[in-house]
């Protein structure tokens, strides 16, 4: 057994930026088991099981196609609408699901956290990781649709920026985790945020180029969309596969820096909350 005869102290003091990497490393099995639990438990006692991962984005795409494509008539930069919407939904879903599920970390797990200590950060980390698997399945669906159009239409031009794809995912994961941690820390005391988060995520989607390309936004308001750190990721994701839209390295750097700064702020808040949240939750 490790860690015998090591001396520890428990004090009220706080080391806010402590990542507790060795503690997390020690609990790596727990991390893996949490991911396994999240995945096996989600679709227990459902008939269609993991098929729901696929059905949900397909139906949403269909809905967007109908409402925004046909009724509102918003153009999609010459990209086949199905591909355009599905791409937006796939990448946006990963962000929104991570955010939604990490934002109630403390409240949802208060029963567990109130009885035993382990580095709390493991819980949101495992959520972000298990969502990666869900994202993977949806991404495969997207790829199928992508190749269908690629071999049937000359309209799309996948390009070199696709190599940045892992970076997009990492940035989104860190950003979702950052926002999620801050909200979860604040909801331990002020439950108002649980109401906010539900429609907040919905509203957020509308200032992100999920259902429209940035080129459709009038210059005057474009800064609003560009200030949103998720925008450039979603836009660049689509650009990588279709060649339509914009790709600015500077926006990606902006999103990357934003997520890192956010992550450290959220970590400090999370660490601070973790110490006493049982008293206020």
């Amino acid at each position: 057994m490790e860690q015998i005869n090591k001396t520890y102290t428990i004090t009220p003091g706080k080391n806010l930026f402590d990542l507790k990497l060795n503690e997390i490393w020690y609990h790596r099995d727990l991390f893996a088991l949490f991911i396994k639990r999240d995945i096996t438990v989600t679709y227990k006692q459902t008939v269609l099981g993991p098929l729901w991962f696929v059905i949900q984005p397909l139906l949403t795409t269909l809905m967007f196609l109908l409402v925004f494509g046909r009724i509102a008539g918003i153009p999609t930069d010459g990209v086949p609408p199905v591909l355009f919407y599905l791409g937006g939904i796939t990448i946006w879903n990963y962000f929104s699901e991570c955010l939604r599920l990490t934002s109630d970390t403390f409240v949802k797990n208060s029963g567990l956290f109130g009885k035993i200590y382990f580095p709390r950060i493991i819980t949101p980390l495992s959520v972000v990781s298990s969502n990666l698997i869900k994202f993977g399945i949806q991404f495969v669906l997207f790829l199928c649709v992508f190749f269908y159009y690629y071999f049937n239409s000359a309209q799309i031009h996948p390009n070199i920026t696709l190599f940045c794809l892992p970076l997009y995912i990492i940035i989104l994961a860190i950003m979702a985790l950052g926002f999620g941690l801050i909200i979860s820390a604040m909801t331990t005391k002020y439950r108002d945020l649980t109401f906010l988060i539900q429609f907040g995520i919905q509203l957020w989607m509308y200032i992100t180029p999920v259902i429209y390309p940035i080129s459709q936004i009038p210059m005057k308001y474009r800064w609003v969309v560009m200030a949103n750190p998720v925008s450039s990721i979603v836009e660049s994701f689509k650009y990588g596969f279709t060649g339509a839209g914009n790709f600015y390295l500077s926006s990606i750097i902006y999103s990357g820096l934003f997520s890192i700064v956010l992550f450290f702020i959220s970590l400090a808040i999370f660490n601070r909350t973790e110490r006493t949240f049982m008293d206020t939750v």
Partner: protein, 432 residues
């Protein structure tokens, strides 16, 4: 012996009431003081934590200036009334919540067991949950894997191990949960009253396991319980928490005494709020007293118990106060009527108020929980004027103290016996 845990000036403050409008302003004020480098203004206030009285401050000290040193291999019992701060102390030790001031220094890993089956997921099977729960408690996967058979064997749930936990009975969940925890191997084990669950056979097993952990494996155990029998069976030292403070490290016997003596106020005392006035005879008040004349609801097995009944004869009828004693199993252990053996001359038929007293001798009743029914009857023909069921509940505790007791040096507990009287024994030696 080396010191394994050192707790210094440990305090924990809580804010009472709801999180509401006042919270934000207090938070802001606290933050403002912090920015200016001043002390938190709310740390200076706060009252002792007495649950039963109404205080003036919103802030209370759940723990105040706790100082303890625990040696290796020691089993420390933590005793106290509800709300005395036991769980808060365990929570701070388990790092679930941070102290407000003070520090704890410890050597090795702390494993805490505040609940059996923490983090069990009802959809997962027993097997999956053993791994998940073990990992939550801080075990590595390999460790759990190596001990898996032993864990399942200890829990006695082998047949159900591949069934989702939601199909388990609540007792089985607890068994499985405790079994995982029992194979945890930290240097310091923190245990809350988890032993209070499960059936008798399993409790025995659990206590045995804890004894083994502390005595043969030399681990340090901190154990909170309201069950004085398990405290006495397990612990080597104890602390008694009262309103968030302790008197220091004391012997188990002293702590148990303190625990029972603390319950003296308002217990073992029955008083009618409103008299019925239409009864020919009526009970006004009744008390249960110990040898010192204090009301009490718990007695050591060797103590005398005095029952005092204040009653009124309103119409000059013939009255015999009497009581009946039932044990936890519902067995009527005895009936006692206030009639002397030479009852002929004794007629309490004058109008007025009387106090009747009876003494149950020490070393007569076995350790158990008891309930008393008090009645006023006439002798013959029998008319019941008043009957009060379940007036008092009290406990008789086996102190396991060899000297004063009928048990002498007889070491096991005989739970089934109704009585454990100190009889007069003598013997004759026949031949060598």
């Amino acid at each position: 012996m080396s010191v394994v845990i050192k707790i210094e000036n440990l305090s924990k403050q809580y804010r009472l009431g709801l999180v509401g409008t006042g919270t934000l302003s207090h938070d802001l004020r606290r933050w403002w003081h912090l920015v200016r480098g001043k002390e938190d203004p709310y740390l200076r206030i706060g009252e002792v934590n007495d649950r039963s009285t109404k205080g003036t401050s919103d802030y209370i000290w759940a723990l105040k200036d706790i100082n303890i040193e625990v040696n290796r291999g020691e089993v420390l019992g933590i005793i106290g009334k509800n709300g005395a701060g036991k769980s808060t102390l365990l929570k701070i030790l388990s790092k679930i919540t941070a102290p407000t001031t003070g520090s704890i220094t410890y050597n090795g890993r702390i494993g805490s067991l505040l609940e059996a089956g923490t983090g069990f997921h009802s959809e997962l099977t027993g097997r999956e949950n053993v791994f998940l729960n073990g990992a939550i408690l801080g075990m590595r996967k390999r460790e759990i894997y190596n001990k898996f058979d032993e864990i399942v064997d200890f829990s006695g749930c082998e047949r159900y191990i591949d069934t989702p936990v939601k199909r388990y009975s609540s007792g089985m969940i607890v068994r499985l949960g405790f079994a995982v925890a029992a194979f945890l191997e930290p240097e310091i084990l923190v245990v809350d009253e988890v032993l209070a669950v499960g059936d008798a056979e399993f409790q025995k097993k659990a206590i045995g396991k804890m004894q083994k952990v502390s005595r043969t494996e030399g681990r340090t155990v901190l154990f909170v319980s309201h069950n004085m029998t398990s405290i006495q069976a397990l612990c080597t030292k104890a602390i008694y928490l009262k309103d968030g403070t302790i008197g220091g490290l004391i012997s188990v016997k002293e702590a148990v005494d303190l625990y029972f003596n603390a319950n003296w106020q308002n217990i073992g005392h029955f008083k009618k709020e409103k008299l019925k006035t239409n009864l020919p005879a009526e009970i006004i008040e009744a008390r249960l007293l110990n040898e010192n004349g204090d009301t009490s609801d718990s007695f050591f097995i060797y103590e005398k118990i005095l029952i005092e009944i204040t009653w009124m004869n309103r119409q000059g009828v013939n009255v015999n106060p009497n009581f009946m004693l039932l044990n936890r199993q519902g067995i009527t252990v005895m009936v006692a009527v206030d009639t002397p053996i030479d009852w002929y001359g004794d007629k309490k038929n004058k109008k007025g108020t009387y106090i009747s007293r009876a003494t149950i001798p020490g070393n007569l009743l076995n350790a158990n929980d008891y309930s008393i029914h008090i009645s006023l009857d006439s002798g013959s023909p029998r008319i019941c004027y008043e009957s009060n069921l379940d007036v008092f509940r009290f406990k008789i505790i086996d102190s396991m103290d060899e000297k004063n007791m009928a048990r002498g040096n007889f070491s096991s507990v005989v739970e089934d016996a109704v009585l454990w009287p100190a009889l007069e024994w003598n013997y004759t030696f026949l031949e060598a």
